[in-house]
């Protein structure tokens, strides 16, 4: 599957969800294909995209959070899969673009190019809802599920190798402030009695 196409399929389904993107390719894809204030771009701290999304989902249980991570980054922070399973937040989904390489640094293979499976690791961590869409039609149905049904979900997606086009806009502080303001402006449902 092509990562840009897979990103577009998500973007066309979004309303008021938060999308957190991994540094490098995922953030560049998202900026270029669908910049919006509820996108939370990351630019550093490799590995932390998944954890940042988990913190947003924990703080705002009324908002759905989708992380767009990469295989290389998730492999740096595998413990997060245990924390995702333990917290069991219904509003959290982790999509992993698995191109089996460190694309941003020149395409060096990761462990998923050999014997390791993101899906198997996620299941071993205790995550029940691991979905592995294998083509665009399955991915579209998967997005419909993770945007509506109770999670947490982990969605490894095998994607083609390839760099995103264009150049990152690295207004690191500006994007963080824009995101915080946009999320704070989303109305919260009335507190439960």
């Amino acid at each position: 599957m092509n990562r840009a196409t897979a990103t577009r399929l998500l973007l066309e389904r979004l309303t008021s969800e938060v999308v957190v993107s991994n540094l490098g390719q995922a953030t560049l894809d998202l900026q270029r294909l669908g910049d919006r204030p509820l996108n939370c771009y990351t630019f550093g701290a490799m590995g932390q995209c998944s954890s940042i999304g988990l913190g947003i989902a924990l703080a705002r249980p009324d908002v759905r959070v989708v992380c767009l991570d990469g295989d290389g980054s998730l492999l740096m922070n595998l413990g997060v899969l245990c924390t995702i399973a333990t917290l069991a937040l219904r509003n959290y989904a982790l999509v992993v673009w698995d191109n089996e390489v460190h694309m941003t640094t020149g395409g060096q293979p990761t462990a998923t190019a050999f014997r390791s499976s993101v899906a198997a690791i996620a299941r071993g961590a205790g995550i029940e809802r691991v979905l592995e869409p294998r083509d665009e039609a399955e991915l579209a149905r998967t997005y419909d599920r993770i945007l509506r049904e109770d999670g947490p979900f982990v969605v490894p997606v095998k994607v083609e190798k390839g760099r995103a086009e264009g150049k990152l806009d690295r207004d690191v502080v500006g994007y963080a402030r824009r995101f915080t303001t946009a999320l704070a402006a989303l109305p919260r449902p009335a507190a439960a009695p």
């Binding site: 957190v20 939370c40 990351t42 630019f43 550093g44 701290a45 490799m46 590995g47 932390q48 995209c49 998944s50 954890s51 940042i52 999304g53 988990l54 913190g55 947003i56 989902a57 924990l58 703080a59 705002r60 908002v63 922070n77 413990g79 997060v80 245990c82 924390t83 333990t86 917290l87 690191v172 502080v173 963080a176 995101f179 915080t180 999320l183 704070a184």
Partner: protein
């Protein structure tokens, strides 16, 4: 002899500054603070596998409007260095770090000493303002101001907890 009520003072300081979300990789010393937080139904404590994972989680929560504190040993500060710099400092995301200071006066474990001795310099190198209160009076005198400074600057701040305050860990 350390006054064991230091941990209650610290838990109260964090709570009265609007912090209800905590991440931790526990150690013997910060677990005394955690006991107060675990017992408080208004507080959420998330035990992560690695300290920088807690930092990512608290950073996301802050972007979503919640204050957070990370409780760990100074070995955990070593695990956090890149994320503190390239996420919290770079993006101006505040967080309160509560760090037990192993590897200093009275230490029994040689493996704790190198990072223990480097701890203040690691924080200084990242421009993270820190306080190392030697007594409860010292803690109470500095704590609210340090936390306020962190949120004013939108940067991490750190409490280093020396053995003089906590009693340390006896080998």
């Amino acid at each position: 002899m350390a006054d064991p009520s230091w941990s209650k003072h610290l838990a109260d300081i964090l709570r009265r500054n609007g912090i209800r979300l905590f991440a931790t990789v526990p150690d013997y010393i910060v677990s005394h603070v955690l006991e107060h937080l675990w017992a408080d139904p208004e507080c959420t404590v998330v035990t992560t596998c690695r300290e920088e994972e807690g930092l990512g989680l608290l950073s996301g929560a802050w972007l979503a409007g919640r204050r957070g504190a990370l409780l760990m040993q100074n070995s955990g500060l070593g695990n956090c260095v890149n994320t503190l710099g390239s996420l919290n400092v770079a993006s101006q995301i505040p967080v309160v770090l509560v760090i037990s200071h192993r590897g200093d006066l009275g230490e029994f474990n040689p493996a704790q000493v190198p990072v223990g001795q480097a701890t203040e310099r690691i924080l200084d190198a990242l421009d993270i303002r820190h306080a190392m209160p030697g007594s409860i009076a010292d803690l109470e005198a500095q704590a609210d101001g340090l936390i306020k400074l962190g949120y004013t600057r939108a940067l991490p701040v750190a409490f280093l907890l020396p053995a003089g305050l906590t009693g340390g860990k006896l080998g």
